[in-house]
């Protein structure tokens, strides 16, 4: 297998593609019900992440900070952590406080699990509030790693072994490449087989943009603490994305529930694998409406392939998203001019024969001249404008787009929609060909 991953060797990151690990961790905690994510660091760590999420989801985001100042940075942030937890508990009464560390406290080497034990011992009133800690130093990894560590921490803190298995119950460990719209799609698919799906973390419950009838100071909707405790009752766990492998293994180790890992769910063949698995788990035939959806996707591929064949695509994104889109573009006949990931990942091994760079959006821009389409999060807009190449938004953040949460690119219908959405952009290019100038 010719795995041609190149790490950019330059001393400066230009136009960052990478988002920080604590942001990924906090985003994962947003998928829990009545949760309040808390970043342990200076208040700017929280403010930057909060602004990005507000602009991406167009929702209020209840992040908090331990707001360390220079004295606490030197002497230690334990008191701030304690105060922050008590203040949050007093004001918002969340079911879960999801704590992510930052570069600041990890550089100092704080013993946060130890701190949390002390805080619990000192404050019995916190008994009804779950405290989940994810170690997410800014200087290790990016969004995916932070997300993965937070989900692992949720499982290790809250999941319990079960005495009996419920045969129709299935867990879905959702990677950060899945939007609320994607999760809804997967839930419907599983339910079509008569299965009950518990999703962790479930952004489709909390960040799907709905209007509650009262003010709520925490997340509203998402996976509950009871849901997580009950993960052990499932017959199978489906994990989506290589970065969900660690949480899936943690869950298996803790509860004995075996898992199947899907590296991606965009494209005909990966969807077939998922549907085959659901049919096997439920021991039910594939329902007529799912067959119909598959047929619609096949038809979309037939109609759409004209516009993809031979087109040159330049992509940048978190590894699992990058793998999903890159493989799918190739399956539609497009050529991959360059694929850039912000961090290394075993997932990238799936991209044999593709020029993969671990780098930034400057690396994308320099390799993307002459491409027909750029794919990246919103920060790719400068490169797209300079190159005069259209940009398809994918990943986080998308601060200059409406409806990022509802975009769907998994399952038969999600893949079908993606063919139409991108096919239309590429088709528009065809119409602008000089030969057809009017």
């Amino acid at each position: 297998m010719g795995h041609a991953e190149v790490r950019a060797v330059k001393p400066v990151t230009i136009n960052p593609l990478k988002m920080s690990a604590p942001l990924g961790g906090a985003l994962a905690f947003m998928g829990l019900d009545r949760c309040l994510p808390l970043l342990h660091g200076a208040q700017g760590c929280t403010a930057f992440g909060l602004v990005l999420m507000v602009r991406h989801f167009r929702e209020a985001i209840p992040f908090q900070t331990t707001a360390l100042n220079e004295v606490q940075t030197i002497l230690g942030g334990t008191d701030n952590l304690e105060q922050a937890i008590l203040t949050i508990h007093g004001r918002a009464k969340p079911a879960v406080i999801g704590i992510c560390s930052t570069g600041l406290v990890e550089t100092r080497g704080e013993d946060i699990p130890g701190d949390l034990r002390l805080i619990r011992a000192r404050h019995p009133e916190l008994a009804g509030t779950a405290l989940v800690f994810a170690p997410t130093p800014d200087f290790i990894g990016g969004l995916e790693q932070g997300w993965s560590r937070a989900v692992t921490a949720m499982i290790e803190t809250l999941a319990e072994p079960a005495l009996r298995c419920e045969p129709d119950r299935v867990n879905l460990l959702a990677g950060c490449q899945l939007t609320p719209g994607d999760i809804e799609e997967l839930r419907e698919l599983a339910e079509a087989f008569g299965l009950r799906l518990t999703v962790l973390p479930d952004l489709s419950g909390s960040l799907d943009g709905h209007v509650p009838e009262q003010y709520i100071a925490t997340t509203f909707g998402g996976t509950t603490v009871e849901d997580i405790a009950g993960l052990g009752r499932a017959r199978w766990t489906l994990a989506v994305g290589e970065h969900m492998r660690a949480p899936a293994e943690a869950l298996e180790k803790r509860t004995g529930v075996p898992f199947v890992l899907f590296d991606r769910l965009t494209g005909l063949e990966p969807c077939d694998r998922l549907v085959t698995a659901l049919a096997a788990i439920s021991d039910a035939p594939v329902p007529a409406r799912v067959r119909r959806q598959r047929s619609q996707l096949v038809d979309a591929m037939l109609d759409g392939h004209f516009h993809f064949g031979g087109r040159k695509i330049a992509l940048a994104g978190e590894p699992d998203l990058l793998v999903a889109l890159t493989c799918w573009f190739r399956e539609m006949g497009a050529e991959i001019q360059v694929a850039v990931a912000p961090t290394a990942s075993p997932a990238l091994a799936a991209l044999s024969g593709v020029a993969v760079t671990v780098g930034d959006l400057d690396d994308l821009e320099r390799a993307a001249a002459g491409a027909d389409l750029l794919v990246s999060h919103s920060h790719g807009r400068q490169a797209a404008a300079r190159l005069g190449v259209p940009l398809f938004h994918a990943g986080f953040p998308q601060f200059d787009r409406l409806g990022a949460a509802h975009r769907r690119s998994v399952g038969y219908r999600g893949t079908r929609d993606l063919i139409f959405e991108i096919g239309n952009i590429l088709m528009e290019q065809d119409d602008h060909a000089p030969a057809q100038a009017c």
């Binding site: 400066v12 990151t13 960052p16 988002m19 920080s20 403010a47 602004v51 203040t87 200087f139």
Partner: protein
């Protein structure tokens, strides 16, 4: 060194908040200490970057792990009329090994790479929490790089943990004083040269007032720092007058420039008809005192009269629509009074204005405008704000992005007046734009639709 700098800023005599404090109160420092678990807002690094990044032809390099730049770059709408380099995100993106072994070498190589590839007139290097903690000597690396590479490399020592965003603004002012202002002589000077301090050209607001300056024959020597070029800021010490546009943040810079270069300053605003006129008047008066043509005040009066008449004509239809509409104003600092004036000029009623980041002088100005019993509040908890809006105590909310959804979820119109916004509201044209925007927002037909309960819920809906 940083410690001394912080201590000096705490006792800043030009700052109205400090003047109102006792000696011991001043030593205790700026602002309230942040409450863990209930704090909101940016850090000192954020504030320093906001104040300096609008220098459009410079490179801005963030020395730290990915979060500081990766999570924040290219997110504000501080506009440029030319160079775009300021919108490029540069960071050393430190990894674990550099945190252990130190990041100075990487920083030097990063500075060199930027200098060689982009040849900017200057590079600003921002220290962050982690690089401050591991003891990287950012100032020294910058000094060495400046000497070897032959361009100004300016250390911005404002790690996030030293304080709030506002405090970071002040540290940015100190950086300019220590490393930039006075390092270049302007090619020419005129008796009408002045600087704007604290105007960031958000959404192009600077360009709503520059035509006024041009018509009066005034030369904006340096804008600090909206749409600025590095060399302009470096030559700002030759201005005759400084106008401080955002009252609190850069007051120390103004005072020290007065001390060092004899440049008088005043605080003003370009929000609203009256404030714009008053700012132009003060500018003309001070410039005349410093040698500008004696007819400048008279010409300024003529311009103000003409512009006010033109604005009144354009505002009349909006005024008829907006009179009596109630606004909940949730901002802070200079905007807590300057926007009040603008809204009152439109005939609107300000139900409440927050004074979170406002000085005693700001508060006095609110009282001047709204009377002794002005409805000033410190902070409003989101839950309370939601209740006020849901109960119809205001017709709309004007605030920054983070309270946006409190209004929208209460199905009440909202208008962005903070720095992430896309619309420009300065000067006379800006006032008309603001009136139009408010009217568009209130009159949008979606409000009636979204407040109507679903047919099957009629009878027990809340609207």
């Amino acid at each position: 060194m940083l410690k001394q700098k912080l201590a000096d800023l705490f006792i800043e005599p030009g700052c109205a908040t400090n003047r109102a404090k006792s000696d011991s109160g001043r030593k205790a420092g700026c602002g309230k200490s942040l409450q863990p678990g209930a704090a909101a807002g940016g850090c000192a690094f954020d504030g320093a970057k906001i104040a300096l990044q609008p220098i459009t032809d410079a490179a801005h390099l963030v020395h730290g792990p990915i979060a500081c730049e990766g999570n924040s770059w290219d997110s504000r709408h501080s506009a440029s009329s030319g160079p775009q380099l300021y919108r490029t995100g540069f960071t050393t993106d430190l990894g674990e090994m550099e945190v252990i072994h130190g990041g100075e070498r990487k920083l030097y190589r990063a500075i060199r790479a930027i200098a060689e590839r982009y040849r900017p007139p200057a590079i600003f290097v921002y220290q962050t929490c982690v690089t401050a903690m591991i003891g990287d000597d950012v100032a020294k690396v910058c000094a060495v790089a400046a000497e070897k590479l032959g361009l100004p490399v300016i250390p911005v020592l404002a790690p996030g943990f030293v304080g709030s965003k506002n405090f970071g603004n002040k540290l940015a002012g100190e950086t300019l004083l220590d490393h930039v202002i006075g390092t270049i002589e302007p090619e020419t000077t005129t008796p009408t040269d002045f600087n704007l301090l604290g105007e960031y050209n958000v959404a192009g607001e600077l360009w709503q007032v520059t035509p006024l300056f041009e018509r009066l024959g005034l030369r904006l020597l340096a804008s600090v720092s909206g749409d600025a070029r590095y060399r302009q800021v470096a030559a700002a010490h030759r201005a005759r007058v400084n106008m401080v546009v955002c009252s609190q943040a850069l007051i120390t810079l103004a005072r020290k420039m007065e001390e060092r270069y004899g440049i008088p300053y005043f605080e003003g605003s370009f929000y609203g008809i009256a404030e714009t006129g008053s700012s132009l008047r003060q500018l003309a008066r001070l410039l005349t005192e410093r040698g500008a043509a004696a007819d400048l005040p008279a010409r300024t009066e003529a311009l103000i009269a003409e512009e006010e008449a033109r604005a009144a004509l354009r505002l009349a239809p909006y005024k008829a629509r907006l009179t009596g509409q109630r606004v909940l104003l949730y901002t802070g600092g200079v905007k807590s009074w300057s926007v009040v004036t603008a809204l009152q000029e439109l005939g609107m009623e300000v139900v409440s204005t927050s004074v979170r980041k406002s000085t005693e002088e700001d508060r006095a100005r609110i009282k001047e405008r709204m009377g002794e019993d002005a409805p000033m509040v410190e902070t409003i908890a989101p839950r309370e704000m939601y209740r006020m809006l849901k109960d119809g105590e205001a017709d709309m909310l004007m605030s920054g992005g983070r309270t946006q959804f409190v209004a929208l979820k209460a199905r009440v119109p909202w208008l962005d007046i903070n720095q992430e916004r896309h619309a420009a509201y300065a000067g006379y044209d800006g006032m008309v734009a603001l009136a139009a925007e408010i009217a568009r927002s209130l009159d949008n037909p979606v409000w009636a639709q979204v407040r109507r309960p679903a047919p099957w819920e009629a009878g027990h809906g809340t609207c």
